[in-house]
Point group: C2
Chain length 205, copies 2
């Protein structure tokens, strides 16, 4: 009897020069200086301004049974948890599943509305993945970012599938996907162009 | 009366992490350590092993009326021209048009078979572009690379269109396209997936 387990995928939006966020993240600007006007993420316009056209790619992310993210993706708080912060996604986050946040600072889980619970993992990427796998069961585990977190998982050989959404501008500086990752052999699974984004899916060999 | 002039396009093949060549270029290995077995360019397999499928993209490159390349794309000779070297492309290169090679070391033009003449330009990227435009007339000027050369043209605002061919592997090190280039606003003109390559075309605003 074969046990079905989900895959581990990384899913991240990058500029044409490979940055997933600009410099100078703040509470008002989760993606830093990403070329937008500061009212939203220019990188993620494909998700928010063109959601209908990109529904398949959005659903593939949200279908995961558990999520992993780095602390800087979770929020702008650095060091100790010195103020209330429950992510950028409001009281009813879109994950509807356990979401594991990598941090050096322990914190009790936060149960949100709609099935999302934030768990704070202080013992590294492999421990977070083990917890996420256990939570996801037969479903996939999504590594959402930021690039620093995803790069650690890629370098450790823990990612089965890499999805890049390439936005039509360059940033010139910021946090770069695939930086510091040893050479990877990829298999191009699919590539789809939408109005102002190109979706690339690779199997990592 | 409007004078028709061609556009200036950059056309380059990159790894999924944005490198157009690996480290350690040699005469036997024009693209350095690009992950191949040393007998050819792994980055450019789409051109050579799958030419039929990618005929449109190849023709778009070769339709240019003049070409520009950096000296390291032209060959492995560094410093003075201390040995005979007429490019990697044999006696009848595929360009069939003037090709301008940026170098710090003056050299007389080399007329090859089939209409290709190599001109060696020692007074910088703008001078090379002016010569290429004059040679191309109403046709396009192609900036072929390497990344260092293309990045200089992009940073100087001299490129109208950027074509990236994204190969399904990462290199982890090498010469990176768009590195050191100030933020650019791009317009996604087209995106096409072939078997093991994704072709992206951007208009540079």
């Amino acid at each position: 009897m074969t046990e079905t387990i989900g895959k581990v995928f990384g899913d991240i939006t990058v500029s044409a020069d490979g940055y997933s966020a600009g410099l100078d993240q703040t509470e008002e600007r989760p993606f830093g200086a990403d070329g937008g006007d500061g009212t939203g993420s220019k990188l993620h316009a494909w998700m928010f301004d063109h959601a209908d056209e990109n529904r398949a790619e959005i659903d593939l992310i949200l279908d995961a049974g558990a999520f992993i993210m780095g602390r800087n993706m979770f929020g702008p708080v650095r060091g100790e948890w010195d103020r209330p912060w429950n992510g950028w996604w409001g009281e009813d986050p879109p994950f509807h599943a356990p979401a594991f946040v990598l941090t050096h600072h322990a914190r009790d889980p936060e149960q949100m509305k709609g099935g999302t619970t934030y768990h704070f993992v202080t013992d590294g990427i492999e421990a977070a993945l083990a917890e996420a796998r256990a939570a996801a069961g037969a479903r996939d585990v999504a590594i959402l970012g930021g690039a620093t977190t995803l790069n650690q998982y890629l370098a450790a050989g823990l990612v089965d599938e890499l999805r890049l959404h390439i936005a039509p501008f360059t940033l010139g500086a910021g946090t770069r996907v695939l930086a510091g990752v040893p050479p990877l052999q990829l298999e191009q699974v699919s590539s789809r162009a939408a109005t102002a984004i190109t979706h690339l899916t690779y199997r990592v060999r």
